[in-house]
Subunit: 142 residues, 2 copies
DNA sequence: TTACAGGCTACAGTCACTGTAGCTTCAAAA
DNA sequence: TTTTGAAGCTACAGTGACTGTAGCCTGTAA
């Protein structure tokens, strides 16, 4: 079948806003869409699939640059997927270090909040900890 | 003692760049610094402490807006620290939901990578999963 | 005196969108 | 057939928290 989609249908399918699709076109992640008589964008199934690929990759946290690379690599079906693998692994590392960083924050925030008496600012443990790095457990500067 | 600091000394102590301090001044988080005869910024201990407060809060992930609020509240030592507590708790919630989101990504990325044979693009599991949301375990749209 | 590190302003760029203003087009109802 | 309202269009500014650049000026140690 020979589906045609409006930009609104694309947006709904890609769980994104209409502007986002226009933005992807502008930065060259989606190629310039064909237009109908009234200058409105019209998409086919291939463009729809490409958008879904991009959106799914974004949900997994890949940057637009990484997605651009993966899309370029995936144009060569005979090519080894080693590079794709490397991009994914390096992104996984990024995600893991973000998790660690956030877990450090969580620990310290919880500690701070639990010590807070809800009393006067003058005795507020939260402000005290924020004021004084020495009071903070997780204070390595990486 | 009556310490005076240059912007470079402030930056080193706050583990940030010189531009960052000028930026904080520009957006009103630090008040306009005094200047020496040659128009260079000169800081005192109070400004140094304020910068450290800001930087430590940033390390814990607070936004500049939240920091601005906390600083305003902490000017009133008699005031209850309930609001400070609320800001901290709401930030903790944010951090926790970011952790959850990243853990979902990590899980899916690991699954994808483990299934990848390192073979041809045509059979690449990573590209396949990215192409097809149905193949993804963590696919709730929150 | 001479290097050169450090500081100054002003402004553009980053990332990935999101929002706005002021239009035009499309499709269904009256 | 007209009208209404949703959907689409372009162009541009704004977001957050910086970071980088260009082209100057100032301070300090050799």
């Amino acid at each position: 079948m020979n589906h045609r989609y409006s930009i609104g249908q694309m947006a709904r399918a890609g769980h994104c806003q209409v502007q986002t699709i226009r933005y992807y076109e502008q930065v060259g992640l989606l190629k310039k869409a064909q237009r109908n008589a009234g200058n409105q964008r019209v998409y086919d199934q291939a463009q729809m699939d490409r958008l879904k690929f991009i959106r799914h990759s974004r949900e997994l946290g890949f940057s637009l640059e990484q997605i651009r690379e993966i899309l370029a690599l995936s144009d060569n079906p005979d090519h080894s997927c080693l590079q794709v693998d490397q991009i994914a692994r390096s992104h996984l590392k990024d995600v893991e270090s973000k998790i660690e960083r956030l877990q450090g924050m969580r620990k310290e925030l919880k500690r701070m909040i639990n010590q807070c008496s809800g009393d006067q600012i003058a005795d507020c443990r939260i402000i005290e900890v924020l004021s004084n790095h020495q009071l903070c457990l997780a204070r390595e500067h990486q």
